[in-house]
């Protein structure tokens, strides 16, 4: 442990100019008051900044488990807003059975979103502004294709984030949600074309679903979100 702290202090020292110059005030305050664990996380985030050049400010998801929960909260906000719009203006000639299923999914995403908001309390990021201008909500094909993207993306996001979570309780919580997202993904796929619930588009030769890093997920989701999201302090 001593060795670990020394290494990190060396790293911080080397990059201290960078840190003070570019980290947001909030992160800097965390750094100033943080213990060894916090320092390690910020150092990791800082290194990632170097690699990815994501110095654009925006809504900061934060670091550690709070950061991962905010990341999930951001995705659930996106999904909830999408299904809310789907149910407010259902596509033409929607069968009652499909409306019922999509209404269920809307309720699930709403529950997820509100749960994260409540669980995060004052650490929660603000409400994001979505951009659904590319979606034609009156056309079934367009709505379901977007739903498929969101559900598959959500599954891969939780699958990739699991190993970044430090608390066993939060890991199980993420597990409780991701399997519901996978049930959604399979259903939406079957609505588009029966039998595609777990085809080779999403499941590889080892029978594994996709896992994506936060940066991969956010770059795919960002076109649907007006608010700029800063994930640079997330654990990696």
């Amino acid at each position: 442990m001593k060795n670990f702290q020394q290494e990190d202090q060396d790293l911080l020292h080397k990059e201290s100019g960078f840190l003070t110059a570019t980290l947001q005030r909030r992160s800097f305050l965390q750094y100033a008051g943080a213990g060894a664990a916090g320092i390690a996380l910020i150092a990791a985030g800082c290194k990632k900044d170097n690699d990815n050049n994501t110095q654009n400010g925006g809504v900061d998801l934060g670091s550690g488990d709070v950061g991962i929960l905010n990341y999930a909260y951001a995705l659930e906000q996106l999904e909830a807003a999408f299904y809310d719009a789907v149910i407010k203006t259902p596509y033409a000639n929607i069968p009652a059975s499909e409306l019922a299923l999509l209404t269920d999914i809307r309720d699930h995403e709403l529950a997820h979103r509100e749960f994260f908001k409540k669980a995060l309390g004052t650490s929660a990021i603000p409400a994001l502004t979505v951009d659904f201008s590319s979606i034609n909500f009156s056309v079934r094909q367009n709505v379901l294709a977007t739903a498929k993207v969101f559900e598959d993306l959500g599954v891969s996001a939780y699958n990739g984030a699991g190993k970044l979570i430090k608390s066993a309780d939060y890991l199980v919580l993420a597990g409780k949600i991701v399997s519901v997202e996978a049930r959604h993904a399979a259903l939406i796929r079957d609505l588009i074309e029966n039998g595609t619930f777990a085809n080779s588009e999403v499941i590889d030769a080892n029978g594994l679903d996709k896992a994506r890093t936060p940066s991969e997920v956010l770059s795919m989701a960002q076109s649907f979100i007006k608010t700029s999201i800063n994930a640079s302090n997330l654990p990696s």
């Binding site: 290494e7 190993k163 409780k176 519901v180 996978a182 039998g195 594994l208 679903d209």
Partner: protein
């Protein structure tokens, strides 16, 4: 899978990591050069193996979890394999044939992946053959391979159990991020299967269980009281101290929106009904 980052992180704790690994240079070289040929999913498992050799750490907990998962995958694989191979069970000429074959193939892939993972960690994989399973569960489901709706009812129980089992073991894999991620990637596939099997059971040929949804409503929503244990606790509406209906959704939606885990002993109690 950011291997370089993992190595860099370890280097911060242990500056000698590369030297420790160097006796395994051949393995490292193979690891990098074969990266494009070896299935990507095997990479975290291979990495786990490499670190175990380098550090000699005990991985018994992880191996135990993987063997537990392997047992469940064998249970599922031979179930679908037998079903798919039984004449006049799955309606010929319907999409059900391809769906069952797809699920069977995934379960076989999981068996092979987990076998390799256990071996890679220096453990001995558990082994089963088809005849070691009794899918009638001691005559609880005597028509499991002669009646299509019964077959699907048992399939649903297996898939929903599998989802709960992987979820419950995730915390036991936190020491090995690569294996944890792989387990999560299997977990969501089982959930996709469960979703589809439930849709198949809704169709008239599959039993016409019209109240069934792709997600779990309340506790045992399967219509099969014999599998109550599979759904015990699924009607939970409190998550991390938060009352979910209090957030503005119905009690049904609250139970559907979070799947619950099962501990190993409860899963084994269910699985043992099907093991001779």
């Amino acid at each position: 899978m950011n291997i370089i980052n993992i190595l860099e992180e370890i280097e911060k704790v242990d500056g000698d990591v590369y030297e420790r690994l160097s006796p395994r240079r051949a393995a490292m070289k193979q690891f990098y050069s074969l990266g494009s040929k070896v299935a990507v999913a095997a990479v975290p498992l291979a990495l786990g193996s490499m670190f175990k050799k380098a550090y000699g750490q005990t991985t018994s907990t992880v191996v135990d979890v993987l063997n537990f998962a392997l047992t469940l995958e064998y249970l599922e694989y031979y179930f679908y394999q037998t079903g798919a191979a039984t004449a006049n069970l799955i309606p010929v000429g319907t999409p059900a044939v391809a769906a069952i074959n797809t699920i069977r193939d995934h379960e076989l892939a999981h068996v092979n992946l987990l076998k390799g993972a256990v071996t890679g960690l220096g453990g001995t994989p558990v082994s089963f053959v088809a005849t070691q399973f009794d899918y009638t569960a001691k005559n609880t489901f005597p028509t499991v391979f002669s009646n299509y709706p019964t077959f699907l009812a048992v399939a649903q129980a297996f898939e929903d159990t599998g989802v709960r089992a992987y979820k419950g073991q995730a915390p036991n894999l936190m020491s090995n991020p690569g294996v944890l991620q792989t387990a999560l990637q299997i977990h969501s596939v089982e959930a996709r299967h469960a979703s589809h099997i439930r849709q198949m059971r809704k169709a008239p040929a599959g039993g016409g269980v019209t109240a069934l949804k792709p997600w779990i409503t309340g506790a045992n929503d399967s219509g099969v009281p014999q599998v109550n244990a599979v759904y015990a606790g699924e009607d939970n509406v409190t998550q991390a101290g938060v009352n979910i209906p209090g957030l503005g959704v119905s009690v049904s939606a609250a139970t559907e929106s979070f799947d619950e885990f099962l501990v190993k002993a409860d899963v084994l109690a269910i699985a043992s009904l099907f093991i001779k």
